[in-house]
Every structure is written in structure tokens, then in C-alpha cells.
């Protein structure tokens, strides 16, 4: 979008040169703005869409869906769920797959150029995007369709009212439906510590941040893996995506009294919303992490490693302490690790701040205005919000991919390896629109993970507020403010932790945050919070 214009102005000036060819993407954004306004409500008669049962439509229809494909996945068309469901529903889905790297870019260009598929699947729309594209008429409102054509989703929304509150705009529209996770253990990252090392060094499980520090030093110095080399990585975490916070901060903040309410760095005290980024507690946490980093207790690749590298470290057995939702990435050496409770911080805080709401994956599925069969599409997706549909999605075919034990599906041996399992299901890699309940969680919630979750349970926040939905104008304002603030916060936090910025600059950091409008942002979140309370 941008590049052609930039190079054009230049090229006009030096009109003789073909040297700066720099034209990559086309200039499609202007060509296709025909008639969206008229078609934003589905008025066409639902041509024979059955209200329940299969097939959904008497005659085969075709739908195009844009989706994200994770590095671990195989092609969607080879997945048993889509092959079988096509026969069952009589709806043929052609997936346009974009790899996780560059997915956001492709998704945005799709909307900007208005060349939309019928639906977007596993789309990871942000609340802002849902509001923006919904208000623009590119996404159609789904609330009525859910009422009539999505019995499973509707039942879930009635059972858990917070789902509806978390996805409905102030105007009362739902533009995207989330992945729903009723299984608590799938909403937290566990704190995995190397029990084998603890035992070998005669240490007990660290209960406080100071003890954690001592433990990590022992991991570093006393050669717990016994190979006479200092190759142990005492502690590591994900590197994180720009704009989504620093994972290591999110994992540790609860020990410093920093909660993560409303989907942001927010504490709620007596109904007062407080954004804590400039708070002294945050300084305390960053100083602690800086201490770990300086002493080489924190992985030096913490800020640069790729997801695949991080997962490989989990399975290598060289790490002492790290964070993940499941044990799936270190299954071959799972006996070495146990999940522990969050350590108590210097002020006595002990909280598992990092936890997602029940509507865990916001914006997992949405229907666009070019879709001629919105009713059928809604019925198509609704199946995955039933245990039966979710089983098909996650486990494939009975006998071939899974066996039932006491009514619960378990992968067969062939498909319970980290290599084969993600190839047959689109849930691996995260963000697929479906229900994750304890009925379909044998793989992600084995006893070891259940045990780790039990360690966290006593320290979960009493109430967890999801990210609020703003009206379009406010959402735009929040976006403007957060673009600057989040970028600044992430960059400076990284520098504080890595020691590239001294804590003498803390006051400057705070005043810059204020200048960027953190108080206005806090006010907006306060108002949104007040609305959900009343």
C-alpha cells in the first residue's frame, strides 16, 4: 500500500530512472468499494438452511475462508476434521492459508483492499479491528444469526454471560466470535521448574522471589545436569510479539502485586482502575528481572529467540524454569519438571496474574459482507462449539486418530507425538474457533498439567475482567494512545531489564508515559469498567 506512493513521488522527480523499481504490492485499495453499504445486512432468504441436524444445506455450497496456518500444522485440506465435516455438512470450504509469520500483514491488506473471502477462520481479530471493520460494513453483525443458527454457541453464551459482554460492542453488535475455553487449565501458563535439578542439588521448591533467585544461582553454578559444562539456562521465557507485552513481565507481575485486568496492565482496587506501568511496584519488578539478567540467570536470548527456539529449549532439558500452558513440548522428559505456585514477592504479593478470560481467543471467526450464505456459515462454525464437533476438530476420526476411554477421546499412539499431532488438527498453534472443555482435553490437560494448575489455583485473581469493547471512536482513540505507549513501554522495559537503561531514568520514563497520555487512557478504561459494573 504505502511503498508505491513513496517511490512514486521520488520517481516523478527523477523520471529517468528505473533504478528504484520498488513497487511491490498493487494499488488495489481504491478499485473495489462498490456497493458494500447496501449488502451489509443479510436479507437474502436462507435457501433451505436447516435449523438443526445435518446436512446443513441440501445442495452443496462453496465457501472461501482466510486462515492462519502455524508452522507445526499440515495443510488444512488434509485434516480429517475438514474432510469429514465437508461430507457431513454439504459445505465445501476452500481455505486460503497464510503462515503465522506475516499473517497480520496479509489480514490487514485483505481488509484494506476490500478483497474479502466469505469468512475468516482462526483470524485473531483484535477488538479494534472487529469494531472498525464491523462499523465499515465489511464484517456483518452476528448477534441475530447466533440466536437462530448457533444453538451450541448460544447455550454457552447463556451459561457464561461474560462471553457476551466481552464480545458485544456498545451498540449491541457482535462482529466476531471467540474461541471459548471453559477448561481453566487452558487459560494459564504454568510455571515449570526442573524438579530433577532441585532434587540433585537438595533444594526445595522456591516459595518467594528471593528463594527463586537463590535457586537460579544454584542452577547456574552447581552443574545440575552433571556434564561439567555451564550450559544450563536457569530461566527463560517467550520473546513476545511487538504490541503484545513482554511475556517474562506478564509471567512474573503477579508476584509484585501487578494484576492484568481488562486485558491490559491494569490493577483494579475498590473499583478504581489503575494502569501500573509507571508504578513503583513495576519498577521493583523490572529491577528484580534486571538482577536476574545481569547475573545471567535469565536467558540472554530472552528478547530475540524465535518461538521454535524457545520450544526446543523446553525439550532440551537444559532449562531450569520456564512458562507454558502444557507439557506437550517436553513430553519425552516430562518427569523432570513440576509446576509450581507463583513465588511470593517482596511485599507479600502472590498472584497468578497471567490468565485469560473464558472467551480466550477473541476474534477467532468472522463473516464478511460478501458471504452469500451467512446462515449456513453460522451453522457450519457452530458445530465446533459442541463437544462432538470439538472432538472431531481436535482428535479427528475415532479408531484412526483417537480411541475413547470412559467417553473421553485420547490420541492413538501414532498421533500423540509432537510431530504428528499438530498436523491433523487446526487447534495446534492456537486461536481456532471452538470450545475447549474438559471433555476434549486429554492431551493438553494430562495429570501433570492438572497438578501444575492446582498449584496456581489458590492464587488466581478473584474476578478476571476481559478487554472491554469500545465504540468506534473511543476504540480509535485507545488505539492512537496505545500505539505510542505500548511501543514505548516494551522498548524501555526491555532496556531496563537488559541493563541498557539505568534506573536513574525511571522518573523520565514515568513523565514520558504521562506525556503520551497514560492518564487519558486510564480514564477511558475506568469508564469502560464502570459501564460493565453498572
Amino acid at each position: 500500500m504505502r511503498k508505491p506512493w513513496k517511490s512514486s513521488a521520488v520517481s516523478i522527480a527523477i523520471a529517468t530512472s528505473l533504478v528504484l523499481a520498488g513497487c511491490s504490492s498493487g494499488s488495489g485499495s481504491d478499485s473495489k468499494n462498490k456497493g458494500n453499504d447496501a449488502s451489509s445486512t443479510p436479507s437474502a432468504s436462507p435457501s433451505g438452511v436447516s435449523a438443526s441436524g445435518f446436512p446443513i444445506v441440501p445442495e452443496t455450497i462453496k465457501l472461501k475462508m482466510f486462515t492462519r496456518i502455524a508452522p507445526v500444522n499440515g495443510p488444512f485440506k488434509d485434516m480429517p476434521v475438514f474432510q469429514d465435516y465437508e461430507k457431513l455438512s454439504n459445505i465445501q470450504v476452500e481455505f486460503i492459508e497464510a503462515p503465522t509469520d506475516g499473517f497480520v500483514e496479509k489480514k490487514n491488506l485483505l481488509f484494506a483492499s476490500n478483497e474479502l473471502p466469505d469468512a475468516i477462520y482462526r483470524s485473531g481479530l483484535t477488538p479494534l479491528e472487529a469494531t472498525r471493520y464491523g462499523a465499515a460494513g465489511q464484517l456483518i453483525p452476528l448477534e441475530d444469526l447466533i440466536d437462530q443458527y448457533a444453538p451450541n454457541l448460544k447455550a454457552l453464551m447463556e451459561q457464561y454471560p461474560e462471553i457476551r459482554a466481552g464480545i458485544t460492542t456498545p451498540e449491541g453488535h457482535i462482529y466476531a466470535i471467540p474461541g471459548i475455553v471453559t477448561l481453566a487449565a487452558a487459560r494459564t501458563d504454568k510455571k515449570w521448574i526442573n524438579k530433577a535439578w532441585l532434587d540433585k542439588l537438595n533444594l526445595k521448591v522456591p516459595e518467594t522471589t528471593d528463594e527463586l533467585y537463590e535457586t537460579l544461582i544454584a542452577f547456574r553454578d552447581q552443574d545440575p545436569n552433571g556434564n561439567n559444562q555451564k550450559d544450563e539456562i536457569p530461566m527463560t521465557a517467550r520473546a513476545g510479539q511487538p504490541g503484545q507485552g513482554l511475556p517474562v513481565v506478564n509471567m512474573m507481575s503477579g508476584s509484585f502485586g501487578l494484576d492484568q485486568q481488562l486485558g491490559y496492565n491494569i490493577n483494579i482496587d475498590n473499583d478504581q482502575v489503575q494502569i501500573w506501568m509507571g508504578n513503583d511496584r513495576n519498577k521493583e519488578m523490572l529491577m528484580y528481572l534486571n538482577k536476574l539478567y545481569k547475573e545471567k540467570l535469565l536467558d540472554p536470548e530472552l528478547f530475540s529467540q524465535k518461538e521454535a527456539e524457545y520450544l526446543a529449549k523446553q525439550g532440551s532439558g537444559k532449562t531450569g524454569f520456564f512458562f507454558d500452558q502444557t507439557n506437550n513440548n517436553f513430553l519425552p522428559i516430562q518427569d523432570q519438571y513440576v509446576g509450581i505456585a507463583p513465588p511470593t514477592g517482596p511485599n507479600g504479593d502472590r498472584l497468578q496474574a497471567q490468565t485469560s478470560p473464558i472467551a480466550r481467543d477473541f476474534g477467532a471467526f468472522a463473516i464478511t459482507d460478501v458471504n452469500k450464505h451467512p446462515e449456513a456459515t453460522m451453522r457450519w462454525i457452530d458445530y465446533f462449539y459442541s463437544d462432538e464437533g470439538s472432538t472431531l476438530l481436535r482428535f479427528g476420526r475415532e479408531g484412526e486418530h483417537y480411541v475413547l476411554k470412559d467417553g473421553i477421546p485420547y490420541y492413538t499412539e501414532e498421533y500423540s507425538t509432537a510431530e504428528n499431532q499438530p498436523k491433523i488438527t487446526p487447534y495446534a498453534g492456537g486461536g481456532a474457533p471452538h470450545i475447549i472443555s474438559d471433555r476434549v482435553a486429554s492431551y493438553i490437560n494430562p495429570p501433570q498439567v492438572q497438578e501444575a494448575q492446582k498449584q496456581l489455583d489458590p492464587y488466581m485473581p478473584k474476578v478476571k475482567y476481559g478487554a472491554p469493547m469500545f465504540d468506534e471512536e473511543t476504540a480509535q482513540r485507545v488505539n492512537v494512545l496505545r500505539n505510542d505507549i505500548d511501543k514505548y513501554y516494551e522498548e524501555q522495559s526491555t532496556k531496563f531489564i537488559a541493563g541498557a537503561l539505568s534506573f536513574d531514568k525511571w522518573d523520565e520514563f514515568r513523565s514520558t508515559l504521562n506525556k503520551m497520555g497514560i492518564e487519558e487512557l486510564q480514564r477511558i478504561y475506568q469508564e469502560a469498567y464502570d459501564k460493565t459494573k453498572s
Binding site: S8, A13, L18, S29, N114, K495
Partner: protein, 320 residues
């Protein structure tokens, strides 16, 4: 370059024809030349002038659902937001300094290289030198950044191993704001000096050999001959290339900088083009970043006009 040649070929025709009728006759006569001109003209119209239409979203609140024309006008709000932004100063400073240093340091090097290659007597050696220096040009940016990361890695990179061997402590080159510009510009020079020197070598071979003979007769030393014959001989080429370089002054290096960026070196690696990408494409703020891009292009255009005028006054060589 094709279009330049065509332009040059057509220009005398135009001058001779003058009035409309005669021009048409001429065009009919030389229709093949005009047909050749069509292709580059279509290129510019479609890819360079056409998109200018979309530039209006810099003054609008672009909403993809409403399209470019349907989005509401909001005037200079996006520009104001950018000028007031915390990042404005840093972005402008980094963009200007990275490019200015590139120009100052990296621009003369291919000229030296070309002089060395042409002055070397042993033909095999000069061919070798030429080939070795221009091979890196063909390596893709992604691979270059990969090479940098591997070589400069604090734990396993040979550079840091060398530093350690001499008793130093490893430097986190890729994660330091202080090192960013040196690494960026240094690797650029390594990659492109050979390729860029080709055009100078070509220009040097066009310098009249009689001039060298005459200078030799007058007893001029080698350095004197370079200074008084070779360099003046290629000044027009140098000036044109300088102007072309200034022409994309504000835009170069986008991919490479983006790949090298991380939170720890952002202080000196955050430039306008990468900011436009991360804010515009990844966060969907098309209008805001169009405004930034437009601002960027305006600076660039100003620079270009200044340099061109300066070149015309001082060296009588310029683009127009």
C-alpha cells in the same frame, strides 16, 4: 535507463518538427520509436502516477469499507499527530543520520575501488578483485542479516571469539544501539561496493587514452594522473549517481533495517520507513502512515531539488 535513451533519441525529432502537423508526420514516420516509448510510459502511469490518487487518504480518515473517495476529510490532523508524537524527533534523526553517513562514507568507496581496479597492471589480479568484491551483491538481505547475526553472536560468533582471545569481553553487537549504525553501514559497503564500482570502471575506460599519454609526457606521476585526468573524466557520472542516490535518500534500507531491529537497538534503528510499516500495515493505521510517508517524500523531493541545483551550478552536470 531505457526510457532515458528513448527520450534522448526522440528529443531531436521534436525540436525539428515544432508544429502539430509536422509532429504527427514525424511520429508516423518513426512510429517504431514511439511504440517503444509506450511501455515505459505505461509503467509510470500505472505504477507511479496511478497510486498518487490514493495519497489523498493522508488527509482523510481512511475506512476501507467506505473506500478512498467515501472516507471523510479531516485536514492536517495526521500530520499534527506525527509532529507531536514522541517518536517524531527520533525517527527523523535516525533516518537522516543513517542515510547521511551512508552517503558520506559509502559513496566514495566504489570510486576508490574503481580507480584501484583500473590502475592495477596485472589483469588477472584486477579481474579477481572485481569479481570478489561484487559477488556479495547477489546475496539476499535476509541472508546478509543472518550472516551478521551468526558472525556477531556474543556466545558463538567468530568476532566475539576473537575479542575474547585478545582478552576482551564479548560485545552484544546486534542488541546495542551504539553499534547499530556502524554495522548497518559497514555491511552495506561490503555488500555493494563492488557492484557500484562497475559503472565507474566503465566510465574510466571511456576516458581518452591520449590524455594519459600527454600527462605522462609532461612528467605527471601516477597520483597526479588520477587526480587530473581520471577523476575529472568521470565527474559527470559521479554527479549523476550522487543525485540518484539522494533521490532515494529517505527510503533505502527498509528491509535490512527492519530485519536488524529489536527493542534494544530501536533507539538508533527506528526509521520512518520501518515505522510506517509497523504502524501502517501491521496496525492498520493507513491514513496516519500515508501522512508520514508523504512527509518523508516531501523531504526527499526538497533534498533532490537542492542537490540538483547545486550540481548544475558547480559542475554543469545535472538531471535537468
Amino acid at each position: 535507463m531505457e526510457s532515458a535513451q528513448v527520450d534522448a533519441a526522440v528529443a531531436p525529432l521534436r525540436r525539428r518538427s515544432g508544429r502539430g502537423g509536422r509532429l504527427l508526420r514525424q511520429m508516423a514516420k518513426r512510429y517504431d520509436l514511439y511504440l517503444m516509448l509506450l511501455l515505459p510510459m505505461a509503467w509510470y502511469l500505472i505504477f507511479h502516477y496511478g497510486p498518487l490518487y490514493g495519497l489523498q487518504i493522508a488527509f482523510k480518515n481512511f475506512n476501507p469499507g467506505k473506500g478512498i473517495l467515501g472516507s471523510p476529510w479531516i485536514g492536517f490532523d495526521h500530520f499534527e499527530r506525527f509532529f507531536d508524537s514522541y517518536y517524531f524527533g527520533r525517527l527523523l534523526w535516525n533516518t537522516l543520520t543513517i542515510n547521511l553517513f551512508s552517503l558520506l562514507i559509502a559513496f566514495p568507496i566504489p570510486i576508490f575501488l574503481a580507480l584501484i581496479v583500473t590502475e592495477i597492471r596485472g589483469k588477472t589480479f584486477s579481474k579477481w578483485l572485481q569479481n570478489i568484491t561484487y559477488v556479495p551483491h547477489f546475496i539476499s538481505v535476509v541472508v546478509i542479516v543472518g550472516i551478521l547475526t551468526v558472525f556477531l553472536s556474543p556466545s558463538t560468533g567468530p568476532v566475539n571469539k576473537l575479542i575474547e582471545a585478545f582478552g576482551g569481553s564479548p560485545v552484544r553487537f546486534m542488541e546495542s544501539a551504539g553499534w547499530f549504525k556502524s554495522i548497518y553501514i559497514g555491511s552495506n559497503i561490503w555488500q555493494s561496493m563492488g557492484w557500484q564500482s562497475i559503472i565507474y570502471i566503465a566510465a574510466l575506460s571511456g576516458v581518452n587514452p591520449d590524455l594519459y599519454e600527454a600527462a605522462k609526457m609532461d612528467g605527471a606521476s601516477r597520483l597526479r594522473r588520477i587526480w587530473h585526468v581520471s577523476l575529472p573524466g568521470i565527474v559527470p557520472v559521479i554527479v549523476i549517481l550522487l543525485i540518484l542516490d539522494v533521490g532515494h535518500f529517505m527510503n533505502i534500507g527498509f528491509e535490512k533495517i527492519l530485519l536488524m531491529q529489536n527493542n534494544l537497538n530501536l533507539e538508533s534503528s527506528d526509521v520512518i520507513s520501518t515505522f510506517v510499516y509497523t504502524t501502517g500495515i501491521l496496525k492498520g493505521e493507513y491514513s496516519y502512515t500515508s501522512a508520514i510517508g508523504l512527509f518523508n517524500s516531501l523531504i526527499n523531493l526538497t533534498l533532490l531539488l537542492l542537490v540538483n541545483r547545486f550540481a548544475r551550478k558547480t559542475s554543469e552536470t545535472s538531471l535537468w
